[in-house]
Point group: C2
Chain length 473, copies 2
């Protein structure tokens, strides 16, 4: 069934019927159903530039039972529902393109449990990633996934998008830490998948299927995540190279030596200069590439690991290598990476942050390709990202008032996505597909897999109400 | 739709129609289609005792295209197909209960690639786990999952069952290492899911959904797995405790100290004695529990980790603690765990190896419960397993000629499964559901989730030909 077929049965038109609004207000209370322009406007967009659509209503439930009642009603009446946490996603995954209800889970924000004995935490959907990480840290435990948006993003949002982050190489991504979920099907059934165990093979792995399903299969209301013992310490170093190719060789050599370090991040020359303009950190503006490397664990292990990585960088011919002397020094170095996006964002009104991923050995080749493509299209682009897992964030900035700038940026990204796929890579490593990457999903998956996605979608959501138009719709 | 409803449309009766056999022979060659009693008998059973069903034919394809042709034909004609690797699974997951074709993938057994740069390997479905591990080790890389059946089990079988193993606590299970799959849908479409990347969120996570789907959704023909740098060294120690409760406290304390070691395995007193009878290793026959602990990594880290764990065991009041002096000593200690199953198996003709998993702090309570239940039913049971992840293997032995021994064993297991679920555990941690655990799946998942599994099954397998009667059928 086509997107057309699914979504054409949905309610559309200005506003929701009065009786539906009355029911919604009955479920969650008048003050938690927003319909006025000023109230719903913040929920017509997320962190993705250029995408916007007004919902008919924004509904903020406080309990799983309320979520269930809302979804059952929506299925009964064919009303689109777009679940949303903080709206910090970068793929336009929470844009309510078909109107209807934006279902905001941020009132369900309690940390229900942190268990040292079981190395797990149980949180409600709207808990922020940082709140979860802090609650774990207070008991000496690490919640490993650390997406850039962690201070505002919600755990359910992280799960829905399978968020990544800076620790991916050593620790994996959100998927690797989701043990169990409480979800509500679009038809209203409340269901628990997985549980409190790292090992549990009873039934299809719905927990992992729901992770990364971008709010199209079910609404996540509660999450059980695995935690790790907190590493005793961590440290960071920085190396400058003449070009990305050398930085790539250093990364390969570090890993060939038997280390999967916690941090291997890179900035290209344009990004280094944008960060230096923004934050005056004393970075080497002439360097073709900056490589941040870091590790965590016991103090001796970390010291040895850092020295080994520094030695590799020196051997490869780095222009300069510096190891942080203490935690503050480490944080200062990491700041160069963390402020890349804000540094680039102030160059022009619109910042398009992309997320292609290629096999690790293709990293330098891909960055060269990005440079060639963006030059051809006369587009301003800088690239930073996760060198350890081949995850690049080419970032294009432009002024929408500048003629066909947007069109040129889009043309460049189209070529970049196809180039990444040609290198055995993917159109999105950690940001998701949403509405933003939808035009390239068929090229990535092929028609048979796209058809299978639609059949799976229907198995969960027969009326097609949940985040219509996105993955599997 | 019920199992009845799905399977009643399938072909049944003695043998396959002559034209179907002719087509199958045309696809794979006469010698790769087996139909005679003696030839198909080995494929009427797997490593699970008491389950047996004769297939109409055994077909051994050599290529993905052949798999596709066979499946398309089977869907067209409504013929059940049960995919199978080595048949080493312990859940009766490859028993062809509805006859039809057993599709054996063991001819497709090539290691296609081991990449040091990308830390991955690509293998055909029928490659054994040990062959993959050896090919990786030859390039200094570790394939982390290590199911007990690794010398015979196939990688596709491991993926289909989401096999676990002894390294689960530190390294996770098969699911954590599957990067990409080539699969054939029951309707014949060949499809690639995932790829060569650790980070890739384009589309639903079919790779993980297929992992653990027990051959009910698609036939896996090729697997891309992630590898790790090979740890420089590893070592093992053993501690004896008066009772399992003390061993459980040691495990909790070890983890509370911030270590997730590579090995934390236990044997109860009965298992210690069975192993000692079998192998004369000089184990402490009076001990209530034997705890094996081990770790891997750099030599200094491993030595410190082992000493720390030994100290914890001593502090808890272990009757004795020994650290292996070298690799040979380590292997000797691990042998006690590895020979538990053969040691127990020779006690009686039938060995029922179970696989309940409970939250780690409930381990000792669960073992006590198992002892009480098996005593009540007059059943001989010993328990060993993975203390680090709460995965227990209570093993019941009996003589089928001994009156109602089988009935008593089944009654005991029924109580054991319900007890595990009552403690927040599951009916299977790593062996799978298959036909063996099917009676308890509804209790574990509930009716809504079972119905969802069936809808997902139909999305992949509209004719219901693939491993009918198992998960989702």
């Amino acid at each position: 069934m086509s997107t057309q077929g699914t979504t054409s049965r949905l309610h559309s038109g200005p506003g929701l019927p009065a009786d539906v609004l009355a029911e919604l207000r009955g479920f969650v209370g008048d003050q938690h159903v927003l319909v006025h322009d000023g109230d719903v406007e913040p929920f017509s967009r997320d962190a993705t530039p250029l995408f916007r659509a007004r919902p008919d209503a924004v509904v903020l439930p406080a309990t799983t039972a309320e979520v269930s009642a809302i979804l059952a009603l929506a299925t009964r009446r064919g009303i689109p529902v777009t679940p949303r946490g903080a709206g910090s996603n970068l793929a336009a995954a929470t844009i309510p393109e078909h109107g209807g209800i934006v279902l905001v889970l941020t009132r369900m924000n309690r940390v229900l449990e942190v268990s040292q004995g079981e190395l797990l935490a149980v949180v409600q959907a709207g808990t922020t990633t940082a709140t979860l990480a802090d609650a774990a840290a207070a008991k000496g435990l690490l919640y490993a996934p650390d997406p850039g948006s962690r201070t505002v993003s919600t755990v359910a949002g992280n799960v829905a998008m399978c968020a990544g982050g800076l620790r991916g190489l050593k620790y994996g991504v959100t998927r690797n830490y989701v043990l169990g979920l409480e979800v509500v099907l679009p038809t209203g059934e409340v269901m628990r998948t997985g549980g409190r165990l790292w090992k549990d093979v009873a039934g299809y792995d719905l927990t992992r299927l729901l992770t990364g399903s971008e709010g199209t299969l079910a609404v996540i209301t509660e999450i059980t995540v695995g935690l790790l013992p907190m590493p005793a310490t961590s440290s960071t170093g920085v190396a400058y190279f003449d070009n990305l190719s050398d930085a790539g060789r250093a990364v390969a050599q570090i890993i060939a030596q038997g280390t999967l370090p916690a941090t291997l991040e890179f900035l290209d020359n344009r990004c280094v200069n944008a960060v230096e303009d923004y934050a005056q950190l004393g970075l080497d503006r002439q360097a073709g590439a900056l490589l941040l490397f870091g590790d965590d664990g016991g103090p001796d292990v970390v010291a040895a690991s850092l020295q080994r990585m520094a030695d590799v960088c020196t051997d490869i011919g780095a222009r300069g290598v510096t190891l942080a002397q203490d935690i503050a020094g480490s944080e200062a170095l990491l700041y160069a990476r963390r402020c890349s996006l804000p540094a680039l964002a102030r160059l022009a009104p619109i910042t398009m942050l992309e997320d292609v991923t290629v096999p690790r050995p293709k990293l330098a080749e891909m960055v060269d390709t990005i440079d060639a493509i963006t030059a051809k299209h006369d587009v301003t682009c800088a690239t930073f990202g996760h060198a350890g897992d081949g995850n690049l964030h080419p970032t294009v900035v432009f002024d929408p008032g500048d003629g066909d700038a947007r069109h040129r940026a889009e043309a460049a990204f189209d070529e970049i996505f196809h180039a990444a796929m040609a290198l055995g890579g993917t159109i999105t490593g950690e940001h998701g597909v949403g509405a933003a990457k939808r035009p390239w999903l068929a090229a990535r998956l092929g028609p048979d897999q796209l058809a299978l996605l639609k059949r799976i979608k229907t198995a969960f959501d027969p009326a097609g109400i949940l985040n219509p138009g996105k993955l599997g719709s």
